[in-house]
Symmetry: C2
Subunit: 142 residues, 2 copies
């Protein structure tokens, strides 16, 4: 049983061909994709595949932290599969959509500040850097 199947079982999700295909598609990408784009790729693999199925699965996989949501300025939904499993954050290129890891996490300091100063409870945190990747920033120099 491969890693993905194991993860799916762990979250009480059945191991279906469509779920595995979505993960396989995302696994091949270095850029974030929209549900509709993933649907497009799924249609090449399955004669019957509904867009709601893609949406539902992406949401479930994201819920289980197998894939991550991208916070895009255009407020549309995009997903990305982190090849690196350890906790980290992302740099996203607004031009070519490439996602790169940022090996930096403020969680500790943040948790401390919230705990001591605000006396609150942290549920989640978002840290994302938007910009232009190496290649695209060179292009925009022209």
């Amino acid at each position: 049983m491969d890693n993905f199947s194991f993860s799916l079982r762990n979250m009480n999700l059945k191991v279906t061909p469509k779920r595995l295909a979505i993960l396989d598609i995302l696994m091949e990408e270095t850029v974030y994709l929209s549900p509709e784009e993933i649907w497009g790729k799924m249609k090449r693999r399955f004669r019957k595949i509904g867009l709601p199925t893609v949406y539902r699965n992406l949401e479930e996989l994201s819920e289980g932290n197998i894939i991550s949501k991208v916070n895009h300025p255009n407020r549309k939904l995009y997903y990305y599969l982190c090849k690196n499993q350890s906790h980290h954050h992302h740099f996203i290129c607004l031009s070519c959509r490439k996602v790169e890891d940022i090996n930096f996490c403020a969680a500790k300091k943040i948790n401390k500040e919230v705990k001591t100063k605000l006396k609150g409870k942290v549920i989640s945190h978002i840290l994302q850097v938007n910009g232009l990747c190496k290649t695209c920033s060179k292009k925009s120099d022209i």
Copy 2:
């Protein structure tokens, strides 16, 4: 001329009663509000006020960094006016919507990492902490 009028002029926006009222409404709040909620409050002040006007103004004010967008897990649009002008980030309570400042910014470290490791260009960054505020975390203990 008050501060808001000055800011509006600075961004080449006309100083209209509706813009000032939106800012005034947000100024009174310690919680983030949806465009529709702000519209509701606007309707108490103006006989004629369109929801698109509220949306447009909120977007413009956000563009000019006078107010900030909240990244809510439900993906809906919410806005908040920071009383504290200096660059900082927010802790938002998912229960009562209260927004509190986090006097911590990872920008320097992030910029350094993006510059040296990724050779990219940072355009913006999002740092937001979601959780339960002091009061709400006590309630949920019950």
